[in-house]
Amino acid sequence: MPAVSKGDGMRGLAVFISDIRNCKSKEAEIKRINKELANIRSKFKGDKALDGYSKKKYVCKLLFIFLLGHDIDFGHMEAVNLLSSNKYTEKQIGYLFISVLVNSNSELIRLINNAIKNDLSSRNPTFMCLALHCIANVGSREMAEAFAGEIPRILVAGDTMDSVKQSAALCLLRLYKASPDLVLMGEWTSRVVHLLNDQHMGVVTAAISLITCLSSKNPDEFKTCVSLAVSRLSRIVSSASTDLQDYTYYFVPAPWLSCKLLRLLQCYPPPEDGAVKGRLVECLETILNKAQEPPKSKKVQHSNAKNAILFEAISLIIHYDSEPNLLVRACNQLGQFLQHRETNLRYLALESMCTLASSEFSHEAVKTHIETVINALKTERDVSVRQRAADLLYAMCDRSNAKQIVAEMLSYLETADYSIREEMVLKVAILAEKYAVDYSWYVDTILNLIRIAGDYVSEEVWYRVIQIVINRDDVQGYAAKTVFEALQAPACHENMVKVGGYILGEFGNLIAGDPRSSPLVQFNLLHSKFHLCSVPTRALLLSAYIKFINLFPETKATIQEVLRSDSQIRNSDVELQQRAVEYLKLSSIASTDVLATVLEEMPPFPERESSILAKLKKKKGPGAVSVELEDGKERGELNGGGDRGGDAAIAASNASTPSPSADLLGLRSTAPASGATPSAGSLLVDVFSEAGPSATSAGVNDDGFLRFVCKNNGVLFENQLLQIGIKSEYRQNLGRMYLFYGNKTSVQFVSFNTTVSCPGELFRSTKTVEPLVEGGAQVQQVINIECLTDFIDAPLLNIKFRYGGALQNISLKLPVTINKFFQPTEMAAADFFQRWKQLSQPQQEAQKIFKASHGMDTEVLKAKLLGLGTALLENVDPNPENYVCAGVIQTKAQQVGCLLRLEPNAQAQMYRLTLRSSKDTVSQRVCDLLAEQF
């Protein structure tokens, strides 16, 4: 076997590296480097032409200097020159330099591409590989433009060497990921798929990555890969451990290739062909059987390789979610791993079981391991393992074991690592709400949470308990009694004071009959905490006090006394002072009737998705929280209903920097939106309309979203700090969106970072933005969008940045709606009605009758319909008051013809909107979107 001595080949380089290593200080190192840079510069500039060896040596030194972290601003030309050398070692250094120090200097790119082109056509496999590796490492658009046509040819040509094929496959993958529009597989598809049959396992290993990526984007075109992958897998799995020679790793045949094959199959549903499916099930069974066999080696490499395949097989079984037998076997296998001495295996078993818990076939089997998992939560040394255990408990929780799991999680919280407390709190809160049979248990649990981990109870959690108590009158008395008792503790968390203040302010009357909790006792208890609390909590308490005046007239004098004291009415905090002044005034001049109206009990909150659930999802990223996916229906009991509710208080509850007015739980925004008490609502608006800027919301903001259904440009979002403008253009199933982020302040935003997450039906590519946005500056971001098939969910844009130290977090729905991919279609009346009749099945039609929320001006209506993207057809509908439109929605998967009819009734100020299309989901979606526009 080859042995390489230190820096052989380039003595000068070895000497230089030694020198650098011997430098005693950073200064000495910089001095030595500057000396070397001067030397190299003079050599490159010198009259004497350098030979290839020297050039290589100097370029390599420059590279070393760069890798030490110093800037290199010359030598690129010399590196490019090396590319055309005939000597491998010189070429290699040239390519390495180019790959590491990518430079978008256009002139150089042309020269580099030229050299690559020569090497690709050289028929020298070594040179071809170097060139392909360079493309794969750089992957720039210019390179894709130059070589995306050539590389598939090299990949499938009969005379291409195996090693070149391997490189070509992955090189193509890189170009496809970077510039999918430039890589057209079309005619090569079938030959690429057949690389799965290649004799050389290395070629299969490389090609399968390419095939997997292409399959996940174009499953139909590549579906023949399924049977090929199954038979390849079957051959590997059934081979003896020595059959595959070079590809056997610690007695395991081709572990990496097996994993990749199993992963490719996860791009598809179970095979339809019975024989293929049978063979695959056999493979999966064999893999599960092998896990039970005695190991062929004691080395950890052996068991790791074997288990890598096993876990991938289990992923596939979970993905299919259709073979109860395999699911239960997988679960049993993982159950064994839960007690394994290898920490890695315990961790992976917990992780994998989490997904098994969401399958109806294996949920029960997973639940049998509850004691082991609870034990893991208590005893594992590695916090990441404990975290997985907590995740699994959360995933396996259902009505039957909720009380046990919540109790265990609560007791774990007392000693839990700081890093996971907040998430644990959210999980406990969600489980308690979701599986609450009686709400007193729920209230107890949340108050326990605040007691045990008050610092980690975010606003969402305590807002939520208040929401639920307000909405459920059967628990209000219990809640009042319990918070009253909790507040008796000498030291209670400020969050407890907030909940207590709010609940007693609303429902204190329910326990006021008991002399131990008479109105004055309640008030004194609350007020005893007042001076220990922060400004927002004090503000909330002041609101509780004014509510007390209404609930219990006997406390009026005492409370007015408190409000009148200098520490309130002259408080240096403007919000507290204002409240004290206003409440005092309100209590003295308003009649009891007015007071009762203004301070009426809070109306029920509109039900919507739990804000804490949203927060957990955000924390874990989409898909990471498996429970609520399957439990969508169940959630309806507590938080179902439309999401157009007006409880802005809850939407804004992620406020990272509470504004002076956010603490009233959005009293001012909730009341008018609920519409239940219009007079009270308007009064409250008057009282509080002077409030300061609202805090940054991290809840998804979709205010702007519906305004862009019929237009493409405008301001999507604006707050005190940031304005986001949008400009978009669409052509067929492609779109491009320009986002303009404007810093409205004079201070720079740092760590400015945006992420766009797309539903699976859309594909997008985004360029990242600079992390610094200067005060007053505007930065631009381009998002390319491809519509793969029709969709409902819009992409989410998340923006994070720091402004003066505070982290700002904004989530917006990007206004990408299905109608953006309309192509207008002109047609005559006869055609229109003929097609209209063809689309007469009930599910093809969607209809809505709704009240006009804007004026019914003809020109405005027309502009909106045109903005929708359809063609507005004149003289088609016999009634000239009606509008009819036609268009085709272009998605990658299919085209959906769509007809529309809008019938205004000016007298009744109503519309009837009817949509017909060849696809039910499209009719419904377009109808829903458009109904919001008039």
């Binding site: 491998y88 391997q166 996860q266 876990f311």
Partner: protein, 152 residues
């Protein structure tokens, strides 16, 4: 049933070899990062990995990704992959790579990686390309490296 989309993503985001003091011995990036970001990632990975003890798992969550790592003497070999990627396959991918380095450099030590940094890149490209596993057979990789070594 869902069609998984993770495969659209690149598997390996970067490979890092660092010593205990945090000096980088190899950094191979499969995603576009600017130089500052690279430096930050290098520091973060070092901070995350070096505090873990031998009883801990070889996996650690890292931003939206995870790091699969293994320690060999004073060197940490780290691979950053997608959270849905196969942990054990990459863990053994590291070991396979280390065994190749060990053969190629005859009992590899940290200094071999320093003085022959430009050759280490060649070894990486033979085994990992475009963020994917390219070749897993040690025999094949070493044969190819021997052949390249013999070229001028």
């Amino acid at each position: 049933m869902h069609i998984r989309l993770h495969t659209l993503n690149q598997s390996i985001r970067f490979i890092l070899i660092q010593n205990r003091a945090g000096k980088t011995r190899l950094a191979k990036w499969y995603m576009q990062f600017d130089d500052d970001e690279k430096q930050k990632l290098i520091e973060e990975v070092h901070a995350v990995v070096t505090v873990r003890d031998a009883k801990h798992t070889n996996f650690v969550e890292f931003r939206n990704f995870k790091i699969i790592y293994r320690r060999y003497a004073g060197l940490y070999f780290c691979i950053c992959v997608d959270v849905t990627d196969n942990n054990l396959a990459y863990l053994e991918g590291i070991h396979n790579f280390v065994e190749v380095l060990n053969e190629y450099f005859h009992n590899v030590c940290e200094l071999d990686l320093v003085f022959n940094f430009y050759k280490v890149y060649t070894v990486v490209d033979e085994m990992f390309l475009a963020g994917e596993i390219r070749e897993t057979s040690q025999t094949k990789v070493l044969k190819q490296l021997l052949m390249l070594q013999s070229l001028e």
